[in-house]
Amino acid sequence: MENKRQNMFEIFRGFIAIAIAILVAFILIVICADDPGKALECLLIRPIISNGALNVKSIFTILARMTPIIFTGLAVCVMFSANQFNLGGEGAVMLGGFIAALIAIYLPMATGVHALVAILAGTIVGGLVMIVPAVIKVKLKASEMVCSLMMNYVIMFTILHFLNNVFPDRSKGATQTYPFLETALIPKMVPNTELAWGFVAAIIATILVAFFMYRTRWGYSIRMIGINESFSKYSGMKVGGIIILSQVIGGMLAGMGGAIEMLGRYNTFLWKDLPGYGWTGITVAILAKNNPVMIPLAALFISYLNRGCELMSIYAGVPAEMIDIIQAVIFLFFAAEHFLSGTRQKIVVKDAKEEMQKKELATAGEGGNA
């Protein structure tokens, strides 16, 4: 590959960002934990190894929690690749989950088929709502960011209205729907853990999205529009249509993630707030640099940190909010284009100088003939 030095540097930069984030976290842990050593052990080691043995159950939990954020990460990845800063993943997840839940409760079907239909419905509805910000963007040039952000709350409160007034199970103390029919539940991959077959679906989705983005004309158009919209228009691509497509696909992925999470982890709908997977998906996509193949790795990293923080709050009394702080710091350093830009510039200069020297040698050689 070309410019190896610069590529290596990008990877190095990522690790430095993560290292600094963990360092900041460490400082905070030292300040607020009674036993910083134990807290750190909880954060870094206990998610996989506890008491000298492999913590199998915890590992499955980490994998299970990757599922929804792989989906939202992919969703963000597709939309951001087209330069569409659509933040509606959050709403699409909740809506996808809700629609899947309704089908799981009220439409009896055969085992297997039931779950598939529910997931499909969640996926479609997730895609449909994204048409709203996408079309408003293309036709009226209104910011998809503002529009999708507001839409999240419209979706959330609409769902809450239905949850409270139309579909509640009054026999329960908490606000929730009736339980899902057994036929609609996504079976566990490993009994007695959180890990359901939804994880496999997430990995398959990753492969499909990677193919879509790099091996199809639509994915190609999405990426080219993301790089240079004027160029894409001039080349004859249907820019408006592709911009809408990218957001609809994003919505479908998010909706599917919501449906799979709902049927794989719960047996009744009880989300009373936006679930947060949409936001995490943005972090995941940024960590993965919008490369679909890297999404599961980024999701693993976030999920691992999540689990570590959870263990810290259980065993070492460190507040669970720590994860948000760590996420924020990583986000900052990754998104900050100028972080270590001085070093990057030095590498670029070095490369450019070598090029210039090569050129001069070449022209000197030609000059000899002239």
């Binding site: 091996r215 004309r217 790089i227 240079n228 004859g236 670029v348 090029e355």
Partner: protein, 522 residues
């Protein structure tokens, strides 16, 4: 000459941009106190980059800047201004909704006694005082959006002076001005010079340079090509140093055998958002097998004309048809499917997706073709084969098709654009400034290809501000001036610079009858 006379010394300046492009390579630039010093070079020669560093907008990678004998680090325009440097940008940096006086004091507003509100009266006084002192008439109360371009420029100059500038950088100040406005500006500049100001004048218009500058520095391809007393160097020498070729590149071509009309343009009219008539009843035909050139000083409607033909803009009136089918307002896909190709003037905006690979850029107009798709998936093998073939045929210097296009040199980027546009079997090629700012070997290559394609039966519309280029390549030629066709020449062999210049600058205008020669049939 002692160093004390020098107000600006830039020594061994090298600038490498984050995208790896070395815009300046070891440039020396010295300006004497109280002179008008021209900085010359073609587009992309590194003039703007050098001046951005002097004004603190960019920092040099290597080299030092010495102002009034003191070594300085200009890390921001604020610091540059404090050292007495002012810049008048080509694109004005004014707030259109504020008045002239408000713009003048922006960021250094005189306050009322209570320190809360702006003392507008004082702002007007300041404006009037400077306006008078420097003979630059402006209306302090007018909103900037309502005043003409020439006055906006004066506001910019005054703005710099109010901030204490003793050294003024003027970035192509005449590009937006009419002839009278230019004359006026020159008088004002000489007036400033007489008062002891130092002026740096960026331009590539030879006549202007000869008219008002004392010395000139020439850049070519980011490198320093020497500094000269303006009076002691001829225009030919300047142009030779700027362009680096004195031989007119001649292209061998057979006599054109034009046949049917491919592109038929009738009565195109367009008035731009500043109410300037850019296209005034433009009509012409381009026939199969011929190269029709459009010459003219930039900004006389050529850009707008090309934009209309590729639906990057919509005219107020008129028609344009390719083989009888309307192209105005049609989607680019449809225009391309009619067999129209465009080498865009602005290659970085329209020609390429810089962060994409060479292959991705070569395939942009044809990625949806059956040939490159197996059902929903790309046929990567076909893509790779054709990309490699194009890279080879068009002599694109690169490591592989996977290299980022934005990392290539200007000439090679243009070859990628040309490879794509020429390889789609076009029946009409619109080439807008096809060789601007690229190296000689790439220019020769592109010229040969254009001629070859036209002789093989394509219709070519060549728009170029490079006189050598249009005269050498075109079979027949239109000259545009002020949105109109000033002249049509059926045979370009009778032309020379002088004749062209007279029409380009509006000194002469052919009769409607003569111009009608460009209409073939109907």
């Amino acid at each position: 000459m002692s160093d004390n006379d020098l107000v600006v010394q830039m020594k061994g300046i090298t600038k490498v941009y984050p995208n790896g492009i070395a815009a300046n390579q070891g440039v020396d630039f010295n300006v004497k106190r109280g002179e008008i010093h021209a900085l010359m070079g073609e587009n992309g020669a590194g003039k703007s980059t050098l001046m951005k560093m002097l004004f603190g907008l960019e920092q040099p990678t290597e080299g030092e800047i010495i102002i009034n004998g003191e070594k300085v680090s200009l890390s921001s325009p604020t610091i540059a201004i404090s050292k007495g440097i002012g810049m008048v940008h080509q694109h004005f940096m004014l707030v259109p909704s504020l008045t002239v006086a408000e713009n003048m004091v922006l960021g250094m507003e005189p306050k009322q006694g209570n320190k809360l509100f702006i003392n507008y009266k004082k702002a007007v006084e300041i404006t009037e005082e400077y306006s008078k002192k420097y003979n630059l008439y402006v209306d302090p109360h007018a909103k900037v959006r309502d005043i003409p371009v020439g006055m906006k420029q004066k506001v910019e100059i005054l703005k710099a002076l109010v901030r204490g500038a003793r050294i003024l950088i003027l970035d192509e100040p005449t590009a937006v001005l009419t002839t009278q406005e230019t004359e006026e500006l020159f008088k004002e500049l000489i007036h400033l010079k007489e008062q002891g100001y130092t002026l740096i004048f960026i331009s590539h218009k030879l006549n202007e340079i000869k008219q008002i500058t004392d010395r000139l520095t020439i850049l070519r391809g980011g490198k320093f090509m020497g500094v000269h007393e303006t009076a002691e160097i001829s225009k030919e020498e300047i142009s030779h140093l700027m362009v680096g070729r004195d031989v007119v590149l001649s292209v061998e071509k057979e006599q054109a055998q034009p046949t049917d009309v491919v592109l038929r343009v009738r009565d195109l009219e367009y008035t731009n958002e500043w109410n300037k008539k850019m296209l005034d009843k433009i009509s012409f035909d381009v026939r199969k097998g011929e190269i029709l050139g459009i010459a003219g000083v930039e900004g006389n409607g050529q850009r707008e004309l090309v934009e209309m033909l590729f639906n990057l803009n919509v005219p107020d009136n008129g028609s344009a048809k390719v083989n009888g089918k309307n192209v105005l307002g049609r989607p680019q896909r449809e225009i391309r499917d009619m067999g129209v190709s465009l080498i865009p003037e602005d290659r970085m905006t329209f020609g390429i997706a810089g962060a994409g690979t060479i292959e991705e850029n070569l395939m942009s107009d044809r990625a949806a073709n059956k040939k490159y798709n197996n059902g929903p998936l790309f046929n990567l093998k076909a893509m790779h084969e054709d990309s490699d073939q194009l890279i080879k045929d068009y002599n694109v210097l690169c490591k592989s098709r996977k290299q980022q296009v934005g990392m290539l040199s200007g000439g090679n980027i243009q070859k990628v654009v040309v490879a794509r546009e020429f390889s789609s079997d076009p029946i009409l090629i619109i080439a807008d400034q096809p060789t601007r700012g690229i190296d000689v070997s790439a220019i020769e290559f592109i010229h040969k290809k254009l001629v070859q394609l036209s002789r093989e039966g394509a219709a070519v519309l060549l728009v170029s501000a490079d006189l050598n280029e249009v005269m050498e390549l075109s079979d027949s030629l239109i000259i545009m001036n002020n949105g109109r066709i000033a002249a049509y020449f059926e045979d370009t062999s009778v032309l020379n610079d002088t004749i062209m210049g007279e029409y380009m600058l509006g000194l002469k205008q052919q009769s409607d009858e003569e111009i009608r020669g460009v209409l073939h049939g109907e």
